[in-house]
Amino acid sequence: MSEFALEVKSLSHVFGAYQVLDNINLQVLPGQIVAVVGPSGCGKSTLLKAILGTHPPTQGEIITDGIPVSGPNRNVGIVYQNYALYDFLTAEKNVSFGLKLDETSLSMRLFAPRKYFARRRVHFERSRDFLHQVGLADACGKYPKEMSGGMKQRVAVAQAFIMRPKIVLLDEPFGALDEAMREDLQIMLLRFYQENLIAKREGRRPEYTILMVTHELNEAIYVADRVIGLSRFHTQGDRGATIVYDRPCPVFSPDDPRDFSKFVEQREELRKAVFDENDLKDRNKNVTFWKELGSLANSVAAIK
């Protein structure tokens, strides 16, 4: 097992003559929740699609858990803004869909039906447990068409995480939800983070590693423990967007008050570094995550 859940090595992407992404280097540790922010059209989605494997980069390499990505695969989970649930499956079956693909086969279903159904029963149990954990205990038998946006997004999150991929990509996951739903789901992610901390304390590998694209700066800082800013605004020429901001950010526990005033300064700093066209600077000025990792460890210790 590799030390990193995800490694992006000098990744560049070009559309025709237009350079979208320029020399992106990124390493994500297991258990991190990384938020990616940036002006619209800066290439956040392109980066995400490259990591997912559907749109390979023109240059560079992506490695998940030591294995190079050559297409969408079992190591990288995905949660889309539009949920993309399977209409023909109930919540419970949507969540256990991946388990079915992993652990059963058509020939097993035809020739060893007892074994097949026994396995499926276990899958449904696990899936119900997970749905319970994300607050959907009552909706197990519902079809996506019968659920609200927030419920669907919880199912989509459970569907991705139950497979324990090395990393899960969230593509503007809560963009289509109302404020109350958004809050609930943010708190759900903070709960996952708490479980990561418990796993680390017990010497296990944390299970929830997340790369989340969002356009909400507050959401980014509140949910994530590390924020990455993608932007074209840097002094190294107009050569495409790259990481111009990479710093740790405060960790909230799900029970803490949602107090955004605690990180006003960082929010300002982030806004200036990533979104301000006039504030051109060395692209590495705010890329200090790994230097600050020591202090992050301290803040984790403080929560313990």
Partner: protein
Amino acid sequence: MIRRPVPPWLFWLLAIGGVAALLGAYEIVSVRATGINPLQTTIPSFEKLGEGFKQIFRAQGLPENPKPPMFWVDIPATLWRLVIGMTAGVTASIVVGVLMGAYRWIEAPLSPVVMFLSKIPPIAMMPIYLALVGIDQKMFTSMVAMGIFFSMTQSIYQAVRQDVSDEAINKAYTLGASELEIIYEVIWKQILPKIIDSIRLQIGPAMGFLLAAEMVVGNAGLGYQIRMQSRSLNMSVIFVYLVILGFIGLIAEWGLATLRRKLCPWYVD
């Protein structure tokens, strides 16, 4: 006001009224035609229709050498041809349509061909089937199967392109699906209600192609019998056959709608 709701009792009353009006109008026309020519058989009275109904169940041929009644000759012949032809056509179009929707390199060469051939009225292609496969069962099967194949392939392929999002497919890959699993577990299951619906929509055209073929080359079947009876202006049998065709269509429609509700409870149209 457009779409103003109507109370259920009134809705049913109007529905029954519609049927009654149709029958009433027929009766009036029939009585007037009989007034002009008492021996007319073009618009038979209900009484004569009743006789026609009895006639189709009566043994044919001479008393010393009876043959089975028309009904038991024509209906099985036509339904059998329809079922065989549609099974072949539907199966082929599902295979080709799904593959076209799933693989761009299959879609590219086939889509212009399918689109062009689906525009040619299948009845116009009858001489080709006559020349290629002869006038027996194969002719009816190929008429029905090829008649529905092109348009049904196109609608299945459209359903795959529209109803199965790239996201759903990419996500299936991230959940560990193989290509075969994506085709069966994602694409097939997502478009199954659309397939059932398009079968339902194809029954009418398929019946049309089949009857046309039977009128030309058959020696049994609804189309053959209708042509035979129309030669002697024996409308009492023809009208009964038309009513039977209507009921066959209704039953097939109801059966497939029920099947869709059973297999795809998630689908709302």
